[in-house]
Symmetry: C2
Subunit: 267 residues, 2 copies
């Protein structure tokens, strides 16, 4: 078994008839429920066992119900199409006979990074040691996940309503310094506080309906830079866009989610 | 049968055991193959028959193989979860026993438009009559779809490589002036020329791997404004973001796709 926390905590066993078992831990909880990117990782792991291609290029997750920490889960996965350059798969995580997430993904072989004629530049960030650890204040919750991923926020965006815009940016790595691969990026795209926090202050739980992550290239090792912004909040539903860069400044992933704003903060 | 072209051309029949038949026409072709947004519409139609909610809120389509015009198709759809505020479904379009597209969608009831604390403003566009009809020049193809949707491009972005950036914007409506509803917006999000055209000139076919459309509100009637941009082209794979506004200037949809650039134009 792997010595890295992430790999151990999202490990799957089995695979006969497209079903695996997993043990969902509460170590990745945000408040009472496991982080969505963590739940996703066990499903991606099953998909990768079926895929002829190693890298998750496009991953869409529908969050059907919250997961439960310290409960077993059943992961199912199946090929939709196996092509020459792309494998398309679907999968689910079920706990206590209830589906928690549904995932559709395209896997490719991203190979060695090549030319990037169009790029998005990384945000200006203070050095890691001048950034601020995520506190959970923005949602009023405990953050066991802080022992698994090390998130450091831009100091201007770490206090309620202080950013003046719905933006959050910062650094992220695994707490045990596990190497960063394409498999880690969907997780990292879902591990920052909601960007609406910067504009609205305390906002409580912001459940994601659907999250799509596009992995753009294999990341270099080291801290990942990330930036998330919402410019579209309407009728209590928000779109949040994210982007992640590796330690060389190369764009390694983009993300977009549609989520619900459950409090009255938007009124 | 409906008198509107869009509804007639994407009509489905049946529904027993979650299967419908459809007749894919070549009237929506871009070159030799039907437009992807058109293929999607028959699947969305089947999903809506199963959904307790009327509006497609989030729609992710994986394009597995090109469709075939003037060939019958089989549409399948199934509920993943039926919740109080959201129905989650999956579906496929198959022709000649080969899957063409795979779709996962969340349907909601968008109701009457309410508050929008954060919005993206529509682009400045010349009046419709000063814009330019899509010619197909950018991809060197015939465009039968021009008889179905009326697309008018910003004159500064309608010639190869002239825009100086990977941006395309313009107006769109149904040629027969069918009313615009939330069901039309995923189609409209996939009916403009590739935005890379503006930066790179002639680019040939830009196959979409995956397209996600988020419908934000029910549109007012009239011309829809749209803007598409790619700021991320790496290793021959591009991300294109889109946004659509109704005739009142309200943001009604956002889109993002990952696609392939198959020519040498990026080198």
């Amino acid at each position: 078994m792997s010595t890295w926390q992430f790999d151990a905590d999202s490990a799957i066993v089995g695979g006969a008839d497209g079903e695996w078992s997993t043990q969902v831990t509460s170590a990745w909880n945000i408040g009472d429920n496991p982080n969505g990117g963590y739940l996703l990782s066990s499903v991606l792991r099953a998909m990768r066992e079926l895929s002829a291609h190693p890298d998750p290029l496009t991953v869409t997750t529908h969050f059907l119900r919250p997961g439960s920490g310290d409960q077993p889960g059943v992961v199912s996965a199946a090929l939709i199409r196996s092509g020459r350059t792309l494998s398309t798969l679907q999968g689910e995580l079920t706990q206590a006979d209830k589906q928690r997430i549904h995932v559709v993904a395209g896997f490719a072989d991203l190979g060695e990074p090549g030319e990037a004629p169009l790029q998005i530049d990384p945000p200006a960030l203070p050095p890691v040691e001048e950034c601020v650890e995520r506190s959970g204040l923005e949602q009023g919750v405990d953050l066991p996940i802080r022992d698994r991923v090390d998130v450091r926020l831009h100091p201007d965006q770490a206090l309620a309503g202080q950013a003046g815009a719905a933006v959050v940016s910062g650094w992220i790595r695994f707490s045990d310094d596990r190497p960063i691969d394409t498999f880690a990026l969907p997780l990292f795209a879902d591990a920052f506080p909601p960007s609406l926090f910067g504009a609205l202050g305390f906002i409580g739980w912001v459940p994601t309906i659907e999250l799509t992550v596009h992995v753009r290239r294999r990341p270099a090792h080291g801290w990942i830079r990330a930036r998330f912004e919402s410019t579209d909040l309407s009728d209590g539903r928000m779109i949040e866009d994210g982007a992640l860069w590796d330690s060389t400044g190369a764009l390694v992933a983009q993300s977009r989610q549609v989520g619900l704003l459950l409090t009255d903060a938007s009124e």
